[in-house]
Symmetry: C2
Subunit: 333 residues, 2 copies
Amino acid sequence: MPTNRQILLKSRPTAAPSAENFELARAEAPEPKDGEVLLRTLFLSLDPYMRGRMNAGPSYAAPAEIGKPMVGRTVAEVVTSRNPNFANGAIVQSDNGWQDYAVSNGAGVNKLDTNVVKPISLALGLLGMPGMTAYAGLTEIGQPKAGETVVVSAASGAVGSVVGQLAKIKGCRAVGVAGGSAKCKFVVETLGFDACIDHRADNLREQLAAACPKGVDVYFENVGGATQRAVWPLLNNFARVPVCGMIASYNDPNPQTGPDLRSVLTKRMTVRGFIVSDLAPKYPQAHRELAGWYHDGKIKYREDVVDGLERAPEAFLGLLQGKNFGKLVVKVA
Amino acid sequence: MPTNRQILLKSRPTAAPSAENFELARAEAPEPKDGEVLLRTLFLSLDPYMRGRMNAGPSYAAPAEIGKPMVGRTVAEVVTSRNPNFANGAIVQSDNGWQDYAVSNGAGVNKLDTNVVKPISLALGLLGMPGMTAYAGLTEIGQPKAGETVVVSAASGAVGSVVGQLAKIKGCRAVGVAGGSAKCKFVVETLGFDACIDHRADNLREQLAAACPKGVDVYFENVGGATQRAVWPLLNNFARVPVCGMIASYNDPNPQTGPDLRSVLTKRMTVRGFIVSDLAPKYPQAHRELAGWYHDGKIKYREDVVDGLERAPEAFLGLLQGKNFGKLVVKVA
């Protein structure tokens, strides 16, 4: 059997994680039993939610286990099938985790239509969890109406870039917040947002206010922190805040404070946290529409591809610091 | 014409209001013109939202004006009608404000069916704005399901008392938070809540946790402050938080901090501010059901009646400190 490189969770971080929390191991690739398939990882998705999986505490999913490969979504090839539902050579979306090979009984393994999901790494981004998150969170919770203003943080990222482009398709003013002038330039010039503010700016609040002359009707929250504090006073009556991520505080071991709920009361706002699976009924529509818009060129999508499984920890640590530029994926094979 | 006593807003408080902010004046009762009615105030409602009306800042309604009678809902008698829609002697719900007499062209004046709204002061409480607030906020935003746990703050008050009894009718565990042992006793023994915790207790959090062994699915927020901080960690996945009032912080001139929105994310909670008029489509159903349950004895309702318009400022200041016990109304005539 071939060698299976694995990135194991070695220890749990108490604050910011470091390379010490991971360990590269080598094992033999597992042997599929009857009914199982052997999957070879082609692409591994790196996403902010994985920081939560490194903690032991309760969250919406079980924590990753110490000494086991880090969890993660993958695009994979069926190398050896002993399951009649999967042919050898089929390309699938699976949950192999941070390793070269995994076996599966087929549960949660989805065959990809490579005529639609092209390139196949789209299954980890625009046409996968991040795209569904953007589409479902914006349409179901954000409910943007033409003429409204939608602000999204982490605007050049896998989710934020889709949120803002969807807002434009729906006739809204789309304002992004991103880290640094290169990302902001991309968000406006390539993605077509109306404006993008660098969250590192001293006068973030003033710049945001200037970019949102009619206030903010939808704030799609990916980061929290200073961006949240700057956006909050700009929210209009009946504003909707889909809370999708809070990456700015994922490394804080203690709860932070948030906005005064008096503002939620007097502005009659709706603040709702969600994860993508809560909105699963939206997937088929989201997949169809996003694929169509992407192939028509109406939605642009940028990937940040890191070559080699060994580099996954370093790339993930960079993601938590905003060093990636576009959807972060690791090319494994 | 008779004398019209008026309690004017003399000045705006910057923090806690005091008697100095009000002034008793006497004028002649106004004369109704063609199409108008002269209304004599029988009962005046005193409600926490009035603290907001004393401020100049933007909120969901225009501020009360300096030198004018404080705004407020009333039950009144039509003394002189020059409007064919109202007979002399009719009992109505109106917005006379803090005064003996007011004229109106009939807009916003609603005739009361005194066979249903009995006693007539119910139009300011259970069968008025507070009752509609409780019903609409709990059913529309809280969406309690049988077997769930509903916590409500200010549990002996006009809104909270109805919220908890409705929760019981819907098959939930109802836990109140109120100020002092007399109120807590009333909430459990008379209103039939499963438990009630004194928010002045040192171990508020521990007592609440013990009273909510399966966590909290709906937190109907009337007060904010320490109660909010104690309830928040107990909220379950998919908890709903109708934000109806924040009386604990109405006198704080500056925004406070609120809960970390990471909890909203990881627990996929919905936090929604509202005022009763947002949920107006619910009024007829709410009125019908609450009246039925009240007359059947399934809903108990307590009023705190203060005698005399002159005592309105003192009673209102007490309301902000939780000194009332039940729905606070002023018997004016």
